[in-house]
């Protein structure tokens, strides 16, 4: 395991990964997925470089940026359902809403701090290997900083409102797959409500220690 890459590029790659979800100005459904990622990453990267507050790690600014620019391009329901697994079907609508809420808070709060780490990394989008009629693709990119390039892949699906991200791979680790085990453990021990409570508890702890760097 390339530990140096893991440290610096985990932080910055996750940041860049979140960048890909910025909103689209033109006809969303027509834009090819890799072109979308390329354009949006460039736009938001420039926005971060111009914003000193985000570079300083100001949490409110970072959260606002992610919430308004990133989330509209993510199929978060699918992401959460995929991570929760079979139990999703047994969940009540209220539980489903809360699951999404807490999971979103967990991801945003945890990984948004990585956005402030982005400075001079370059993004290399690899050519898309998919048939034109595919409705689900994997867009592969690389973050090039110091040392080994870091792998950063997006699984995207085609929706009427454009391509949406539903899974993320940083340095070979798929996000949904990793959280699937975490959630499965909690659910089998304490049920869906127990999972919601655990995530809520974690979010509260993270919010409390936000800004406290060790």
């Amino acid at each position: 395991m390339n530990r140096r890459t893991l440290a610096r590029l985990l932080a910055s790659s996750l940041g860049l990964a979140l960048l890909a979800g910025a909103p689209l100005a033109r006809a969303a459904a027509d834009e090819a997925p890799e072109a979308l990622i390329k354009r949006v990453s460039t736009e938001v990267l420039d926005a971060i470089r111009a914003d000193k507050a985000i570079q300083a790690g100001e949490m409110d600014r970072v959260l606002a940026l992610v919430d308004t620019k990133v989330m509209p391009n993510v199929n978060f329901t699918r992401m959460t359902a995929s991570a929760v697994g079979r139990s999703w079907r047994q969940a009540t609508p209220e539980q489903k809403t809360r699951l999404q809420q807490e999971f979103k808070a967990l991801l945003i709060r945890t990984y948004s701090g990585a956005l402030s780490q982005v400075n001079d990394q370059k993004l290399n989008i690899k050519p898309l290997r998919a048939a034109p009629e595919d409705t689900e693709v994997t867009v592969r990119t690389e973050v090039i900083g110091r040392g080994e390039p870091a792998q950063l892949d997006y699984r995207m699906e085609k929706t009427p409102t454009g391509w949406k991200i539903y899974d993320l791979n940083v340095l070979g680790v798929w996000l949904v797959e990793t959280y699937r085990t975490q959630f499965a453990q909690e659910i089998s021990a304490k049920g869906i409500d127990g999972l919601i409570a655990s995530m809520a508890q974690r979010n509260k702890t993270n919010a409390g220690s936000a800004g406290a760097k060790s």
């Binding site: 395991m1 595919d134 080994e148 453990q185």
Partner: protein, 264 residues
């Protein structure tokens, strides 16, 4: 006589004790994760490592980071990474990857000659790609299965195969070639602290992101090792179609058109 007798006894005892320990540590029951048959044993070692980290390693690494200026720390990291490029060169050759081996050798010579003995990472500035390979990856490339997930004391997440690889890595590391014992120990210690200091951010991220740190580290490690060994060519496509829990369950008449077509 006694010596001969006890030297015959001890290996047998040691083996029996180890087998017993591993058996105790074996996971059983409905919670057992097939990728992690030694889960109880691993969790114990993980807890020990966390304690050691909290008590000793993290404070030392934090102090090192706070006291040492960034350029010096970068120099230290570059120095050890440069030494690592020699081992990567060897492993790339062993895996039959001459282009990558050439890159590693080129990196090493460039950084050593022009980067003041590896303190400056000139090679990255020249865009010479880095291909870090260890012997565990080489064994994987040769087709050796990873074996059960194992958490090593001090060294952390590994597998049976990667532990064997680690043993070879330590022999092949240039630091271990140093004859002077105090120098060798100081260098090893410095490398450990430097590595931990570089991982301080990632460690904090892990504390926040994971509901169960042990499981998170395990799954991330296993996924990452697989992707490292598989390399660029195959990519990370799925082997079987994913079940869509967010869509209504497919009924007998008309299933939702949700057949994924992986790009790779």
């Amino acid at each position: 006589m006694t010596q001969q007798h006890s030297s015959k006894k001890n290996p047998a005892w040691a083996a029996a004790a180890l087998a017993l320990a591993l058996l105790q540590g074996c996971a059983a029951g409905p919670q057992a994760n097939p990728a992690d048959p030694l889960e109880p044993f691993n969790r114990g070692v993980y807890r020990f490592n966390e304690g050691l980290d909290r008590a000793v390693l993290k404070p030392v690494a934090t102090a090192y980071r706070d006291v040492t200026p960034q350029p010096v720390r970068t120099g230290v990291t570059n120095f050890f990474e440069n030494l690592g490029d020699v081992w990567s060169f060897v492993n790339n050759l062993l895996q039959g990857r001459p282009a990558e081996a050439g890159d590693s050798l080129f990196r090493f010579t460039t950084n050593t000659l022009w980067g003041v003995g590896g303190l400056f990472d000139v090679a990255s500035g020249l865009n010479i790609p880095k291909h870090k390979e260890d012997f565990g990856q080489t064994l994987g490339a040769w087709g050796l299965n990873a074996g059960p997930y194992v958490v090593l004391p001090v060294f952390g997440p590994s597998s049976v195969r990667d532990t064997a690889g680690l043993a070879v890595d330590m022999q092949g590391s240039l630091v271990s070639q140093a004859d002077n014992v105090p120098v060798r120990n100081s260098l090893s210690g410095l490398r450990v602290v430097d590595t931990r200091a570089n991982l301080l951010e990632a460690g904090n991220l892990l504390d926040q992101a994971a509901l169960d740190k042990y499981a998170f580290v395990r799954d991330a490690y296993l996924q990452r090792r697989q992707s490292q060994i598989r390399g660029d060519a195959q990519g990370s496509g799925r082997s079987e179609p994913e079940e869509r829990f967010d869509l209504p369950e497919p009924g007998p008449a008309g299933a939702p058109a949700a057949s994924p077509a992986p790009a790779q």
